[in-house]
Assembly symmetry: D2
Homo-oligomer: 320 residues x 4
Amino acid sequence: MVDKNTDGSNQSFNSFYNKENVKGMSRTDLALEVRESFKEDDVEIKGVILDEEYNKDKDIRITTVVIKDQKGAEAMGKPIGTYITIEAPKLQEDDESFHEPITEEIVKYLKKVAANLEEVNVLIAGLGNREVTPDALGPQVVDNLFVTRHLIREFGDEFKEKNNLGNVSAISPGVMGQTGMESSEILRGIIKETKPQLVIVIDALAARSINRLNTTIQITNTGISPGSGVGNNRKALNKESLGVDVVAIGVPTVVDAATIVNDTMEQYMRKQGLEEKEIYQFLSEVNQQTANMFVTPKSIDDSIKRISFTISEALNKCFS
Amino acid sequence: MVDKNTDGSNQSFNSFYNKENVKGMSRTDLALEVRESFKEDDVEIKGVILDEEYNKDKDIRITTVVIKDQKGAEAMGKPIGTYITIEAPKLQEDDESFHEPITEEIVKYLKKVAANLEEVNVLIAGLGNREVTPDALGPQVVDNLFVTRHLIREFGDEFKEKNNLGNVSAISPGVMGQTGMESSEILRGIIKETKPQLVIVIDALAARSINRLNTTIQITNTGISPGSGVGNNRKALNKESLGVDVVAIGVPTVVDAATIVNDTMEQYMRKQGLEEKEIYQFLSEVNQQTANMFVTPKSIDDSIKRISFTISEALNKCFS
Amino acid sequence: MVDKNTDGSNQSFNSFYNKENVKGMSRTDLALEVRESFKEDDVEIKGVILDEEYNKDKDIRITTVVIKDQKGAEAMGKPIGTYITIEAPKLQEDDESFHEPITEEIVKYLKKVAANLEEVNVLIAGLGNREVTPDALGPQVVDNLFVTRHLIREFGDEFKEKNNLGNVSAISPGVMGQTGMESSEILRGIIKETKPQLVIVIDALAARSINRLNTTIQITNTGISPGSGVGNNRKALNKESLGVDVVAIGVPTVVDAATIVNDTMEQYMRKQGLEEKEIYQFLSEVNQQTANMFVTPKSIDDSIKRISFTISEALNKCFS
Amino acid sequence: MVDKNTDGSNQSFNSFYNKENVKGMSRTDLALEVRESFKEDDVEIKGVILDEEYNKDKDIRITTVVIKDQKGAEAMGKPIGTYITIEAPKLQEDDESFHEPITEEIVKYLKKVAANLEEVNVLIAGLGNREVTPDALGPQVVDNLFVTRHLIREFGDEFKEKNNLGNVSAISPGVMGQTGMESSEILRGIIKETKPQLVIVIDALAARSINRLNTTIQITNTGISPGSGVGNNRKALNKESLGVDVVAIGVPTVVDAATIVNDTMEQYMRKQGLEEKEIYQFLSEVNQQTANMFVTPKSIDDSIKRISFTISEALNKCFS
């Protein structure tokens, strides 16, 4: 009776990146992957700065994409802002000694995108559906946070200073299919009532490449803006919609089923010499079947558990 | 470092009913049990109307306590309003055929305390801590609700009327130890943003008598008012604090550890001829040890699963 | 350090159906889909009987595939036995009134494949990983079962007969990545110790077609036999490996990521006139990337909850 | 219909320590607390050696009770063996830096009670009901274990040695109300099939004193023996019933509701000069009401999460 497509999924799960051409059919929430998709044709995109850094010892690659102006935003289909991507293949390994360095990187870049992080009142929102494993990242991060707002209210600023604590509150708002409400509505209400100065949203993302699943962390000061960042602000979680600065931490945990088929098909069809229009038409038909399906690894439970722990540790370090 | 007592528990878990005499030391969230505590001394309490009905076939007892005025409120230590208690020992049994009649009773009395229930926009809030079994009632009810607000927004009023649906949204706000925020703050913010006309809160309660655990459902139009309903509105969930009508559905799932000790001791000490003051002093000392401890049955998981299903079925019936 | 591929998944998730040709690259656990894959070339397969029945009112299609002999087993790549498939698109709908008829069909066909179902001692095993949503079907069925073995042991046969109960025990053994043991080892040990006369295993399956996900139930008297049913009995759960009759109830909840890509590519490449060998080679390379990835719908949590409830209701009806 | 009392709880929850006198009415699973109950009357108990050690820096107290012979076993109501109790009030604090020293103590004393711990094949069993928070300790420990048996089987002894791994398998058998089987039956079957040389069982215990809840860890080489260790071997998990050495790690997470009432009442009635027989009779009546009820703190979820993590870390350290 009810179209499950529209209600069972969280915001980024719905944030398709469609531009009515073949390139637009493969969805990614990673600015890095959008940037990569231009690599062959355009060596430089106007309004977009790209910077890469590689730590060989730790096997961690940091890529910073800065979208400087409206031109860059249009080319990239993402809003103006800074997008930092931490790629660490070792995140996949069940080796505790490795989570320390990743935690440090997260802390470092969070402080970079959010000034005075320790001094402001922060609301951390774990987006996503706790009942669907690859979408449970946000709620699982929130489950491990050390919240302090209520303690500071009870024991006063002295307590805060003595223990060197930040002022942290947290919520897992659930997804629209569970609540009947947009996450943006829930958060906007809570923000008006509790007045945090910064919101950090944690969310599971969709990547284009399978290799990036559960090995990549994107930190951005733009919040989450489904679609091209233009219009559709009902669903957006950003300064415009929430009224306060919004930092987003995202981890790609799924690839859209359509994307995985499209990428293989497109590559093959191009080799066959087919034209853009033919490819687009073929894929459009194929995609109807795979709408609202995602691809994820069988061991996704271990990955989510591990990475959510790493992110919550990083956040706890920031604030205590 | 942190006093877990003040943050790990939900609102009603903290709503002690203290009047600095022996009677006040035994806590209950049930208006029915407060009324019972007067039975011996006062046959009638001014400002309080009591009505009882018993269905022998179904073994369901309905008690209605109406607190009519401020005098009654003071005597009872509860705010003015109607408190309906459904007692059904068979709720403890794993017999599905029995849940149908209970569901009907809940629907009937919900409609009694909330006029035009089907026509107003409703927000249902599942209070409590999903990680502590006897406190998970509210979140588990919400997990089984059929929410519709987002569907009506998307498909319009026609869709609503065609399918004969109510407009329902729902949230499990978590407890202060998880969020750093009062449930009242979270709900007030969401209410301002999404504008429901009625809020229904579901919560686990504390009873005085072990026999009432998991066999009793209290429905009231007063919301939840910790303490005596006077002051402490920071924590209250009622029309005054939330700005809309609040109906509360509560099920006693625990007895305070202090209460269970107090009741046994008091009974014995009175027989021994001790005076009020002596008894009070003795119990005060004993109670320090048992503060923030609760008593619950070993099979609480089955009870919570069963009763939360019954309540969610009743709510789903009200609205579709 | 550890190859997650080999340990994070349950048995059927690993039961690839490989025959070193293009047809063999698309995996399915449904006998029905194996049969369909022959449709074009072979109208009849020796040793395999196919029977179809459609109830238009309820929109339920029952297909029975009987593999009669070794020839049929080899052609089908599945062991000799009866495979009943209940296809009910309405299983996808959140309409409770529909679960009654499906429950009845399950009971009916369970009784068909397992003689004297109510009279024998039964162990029900919920296979799969409770932490990965589409693989949690088995454990969630077991969570809702009414087990009786311990009651009959305590209160005697009179109690059993008075209440008209079957003798039911149940276990969710977990997956090898969690236990370090094969499900077959765990079950074999428990069976030797507790001596059930019949084992019913519940498991999430992989289908070839997305349309069959969460709308199809396969009931078979062959148990679960990964691979072609020949060899690899270490992982099998059947009469040979467990020593008692084994009935399996399976629901396809995922499509292998490789399968979804393969099917689209193959269809296209065949139209292009490519030869079997070329197609096979191309797909082999593509498949390396998608190994151990699965495709599932975003609303998988709702589907698993609903279908596991339907199956547990059917089993509870069989035995009480 | 069904008496939930007998099936909803795990083994130690049922292991009442009854001796038909007042002393016997207060239950504890801690050898240390049994020993304490003698303190006033008997300075030394024949056949029982007591040793205490206190680390002031870490605020950790280690008490070793050795029951040397049958005489000691009878006096203590517990089987012959070594019982080590680690008392660490700081286990209650949410301070990560403290878990390191506790982890070390657990490793140290595990190695003391189980010779050649790293070299033998070990099965770790997490007893208890994962759905009842204070009883979920065992399953939550197992959830965080690093199991290796299947990897060693697949990659061989070289792999084991190169990575310096123990051979570990693990299971959470559930409780009788969920499975219809005794944990001892399930474990005995699995042991026969997979042949571990040592079983480590993890279980939530009942203490007599509220102050010991979630601050105490008992390690013993006797396994778990409900009742007085004499008879009732159907439920026991020890060398006699399982056929291999059994080490038990237990944490008191509940106090029996009867115990908490009894202890307060008894203390008071003795002061009043009542006789043993009178006290016993009074308490017997009171206890009927509180049978199968337990007392636990409101913040039990945090405690279980923290302590289960500490124990799983200790076990992971032992074996890798």
